[in-house]
C-alpha cells in the first residue's frame, strides 16, 4: 500500500465497490421521496431519540448508501416514531413511513412476510 503519511482505520473505511445497496434501492422504490433528501440535518436536530441514541434520518440514509448496516440498524431500533422529523423536513419527506418501511426490509432488501 502506498504511504500517504496517514493511516485509515479499517473499521471506518467505506469501500463503495463492496457496498451492497440492496436495502437503499428497495427503499427508494417503496418510498421514492427518500431520494429527495438534501442532507439538511433538520431531522437530526429535532430527533427526540438523538440525545441518547444518535438517531438521525439523514445518517440512516447516508449509512444505507455506504454499507453501514449495523449503524443503521442501531439507529432505527431507537426511533420512537414521534414524528418530529416529519414535521420539520423541508422536503416534506414522510420520514416515519421511511423508517417503518426500512424496518420491514431485511438486509437483502426483501420485505419480510
Amino acid at each position: 500500500m502506498m504511504d500517504f503519511g496517514f493511516k485509515l482505520s479499517p473499521s471506518s473505511a467505506v469501500n463503495l465497490d463492496t457496498v451492497d445497496r440492496a436495502r437503499y434501492d428497495r427503499l427508494v422504490q417503496l418510498v421514492p421521496d427518500a431520494r429527495t433528501c438534501i442532507d439538511c440535518g433538520s431531522c437530526s436536530a429535532t430527533c427526540t431519540a438523538a440525545p441518547w441514541s444518535g438517531m438521525s434520518v439523514r445518517k440512516v440514509l447516508l449509512g444505507l448508501q455506504r454499507g453501514r448496516d449495523d449503524e443503521v440498524d442501531a439507529m432505527l431500533s431507537k426511533c420512537m416514531l414521534c414524528g418530529k422529523c416529519t414535521m420539520v423536513c423541508p422536503r416534506g419527506i414522510n420520514t416515519r413511513q421511511l423508517i417503518l418501511t426500512l424496518c420491514r426490509l431485511d438486509r437483502k432488501g426483501e420485505v419480510v412476510r
Binding site: D33, T46, T48, A49, P51, W52, D73, L76, S77, K78, C79, M80, L81, C82, G83, K84, M87, V88, G92, I93, N94, R96, Q97, L100, L102, C103, R104, L105, D106, R107, V112, R113
Partner: protein
Amino acid sequence: MRERFASHFDPFVIPFLVGMAFVLGYCLIAMIRVILQLPKEDRRRFLVSLITPKQIWINVRDIFLNCLIHVKLWQRNKMLGFMHSSIAFGWFMIILLGHLEVILFVPERIHLFYYPIFFNYFVAETEQTIQGSMLMFLMDFFLLMILSGIAIAIIKRFASRIVGMRRTTRLSLLDRVGLYSLWAIFPLRLLAESFTAHISGGSFLTIPANWIFRQFLGNDLYALPTWWAYSIALGVFMCVLPFTRYMHIPAEMLLIPMRNAGIRIRHPRKGFASLEVYSCPACGVCIDACPMSVLKVNCKDTTVYLNRQLRRGNERRIAEISDKCLLCGKCTAVCPVGVQGPELREAQRARRKYALSPSYAGINVRPMASAVAGGAGGASGGVLYFAGCMTQLTPSIRRATASLLDKAGVRWQMMDPDGGLCCGRPLMMAGRTEQARELIAKNLEIIRASGCDTLLLSCPICYKVFKEDYPLSDIRVVHHSVFFQELIASGQLKVRREEGHKLVWHDPCELGRGCGVYEEPRAALAAAGELVEAGKHHAESICCGGSLGSLSLGFEQRKAMTRNALDNLTVADPAEIVTGCPLCLATFVRAADRPVRDIAEILDTRS
C-alpha cells in the same frame, strides 16, 4: 275465513323455504364461529351478559332502536333515517302481523314456516271480521311504508345528492343482486296480494289495485305467477344475503349485545373485528365525513371500503387502507352502526411483520428521574408538566403554560426540560404495542420518581395514552385546557375578556373524540373573548391533517386536508383560531390566513 287449499301447500313456496333454510343455517354457524373466536374471558363475559336481566333489557332496547328504528341515522339525515327505518320496521311489522294472523285464524298451521309470509294466498276473506280488516289495514299500511322507503332507496342509488349525500358506495355484483331482489320483493308482494284481493280480501292499497287490474285483465291467471315471483325474489335475496352487505342485518343483532357486554377488538380478523366488518351496511355515511375524502383518490380508503376489503380478504388493499387513515375517529362518530374504523386499522397494523424491532429497554432514564425527584413537586405532591415531543417544536406553548402556572401560584416542575422520551402513542398507532409498553415503563419510572399528584399535558396525543394506558390511577392526568379552565373557575387565574374578539376552538381529534373533552376549553376561551363555532365541531370536528395516525399520507395530500379543515374553522370569520394540540398548531400555522394559537398562549396574553 276459510283456507283455500286442503293441502296447505303450493310449490311456489319452495324458493322461499330454500332461502330461509339457507340463511338461518348460515347465520347460526357464523354466530357460533364468532363466539368461539372470542378470547376465553371475553366469551364468558358475553355469555354472562346474555343472562343478566338488566343487560337483556338494554340489549332488546338497543336492538329495537338501532336495527329497526335506526335512531342514529335519523339524527344524521332524516331522509336516510326514514328510508332505512321504513324498510326495516315495516318489514318487521309485516312479518309480525303475518304471524299474528296465523295465530288468530289458523293456529294449527303455525308450524308451517311459509304461512305467515304467504297468508293471503292460503287463507281467504279475513277482512270481514273486525280483527281481520284491522290486520289487513295494518298490512297494507306497513307495505306502503316499505314501498315509500324503497322509492327513496331507488332515488338515492341514481341521484344521491337528493337525499343529502355527496357520495355513495359503489356496489359489487352480488350486492347488486341483493339490492335488486330487495327492491323487487315488495312491489311483487303488492301485486301478488292485489291479484288475490278479491278472493282473500285486502285493504286500502290492495282492493283498489285489484279493482283496476280486473278492469283490463279479467281473469286470475296472473295471480299464481306473481306469487311465484314474490317467493323467488325472497329466496334469491336470502340466498345471496350472507355474501352481500345485507349480512349487516343479522350481524348487527349480535354486535349490539357484544358491544354492550364490553367486548373489544382483540384480533385483526377474528371475533369482534369480523362482526364489526359484517355489521357495516355500506351506508356510505363515512365517505363524506372522512377528512381524507377531500381528495377523490382517497374516497376508496374510507372505512366502508376497509370493511369491504376485509370481507374479500384483499391483503394488498387492506394494508394500503389501514396505513393511510389519520385515525381521527370521525367515521366512528358518524357511523350509525359504530364500526370502529381506527381500532380496526390499528389491529391490522399490529399484524405486520418486521425485520427490525426497536427496543427501548436499554435506555437509561435515571438522570431524568433524579432531575425531577425532590424538585418543586417533591414527595408531597404537586404538578408535573410533561410537554412532550411535539411541544418541543412549538416552544411558545411551553412558555405560555409555564407562565400561567406561575401566575396561578401552582407548585410545578417540568418532566422534560431538555427533551424526554416519547409517550408511546405514536408507536401504538403504528401497531407496535409491545414496543410502546417499554416506553411506558420508562416514562413511569420518571413520573413515579417525581412524587407528583397531577400530571399535566399540553399535547392531547400524550394525554390520551397517559390516561388510558399508563397505570396511574393515583395520579390525576389532565390536559392543560381543562386545568386552566379550573384555575379560572376557582379564581386562581384572572383572565381579562376582550369583547368582540372572535375566537374559534378547534377540537383536536385525540382530545375531543379521543377523550371526550369538549366543553372546558370552550369555557376557558369564552372567558377570554367571544367564542364562535366552526362549521363542524365537537364530535364532528375535522382533523387538521397532520395526524400521526396516518403512516403513508404524504405532505401534499395532507395540505389539502389542512386547507379543508381551515375552511371549516373560519366560517364564522374568527380573528384567531385556537387549539389545544401542538401538532394541530404546527400543521395549521403553515396554511392559515390568520393567527393560530394554543389555548395557553391566548390565556397567557389575557391574564
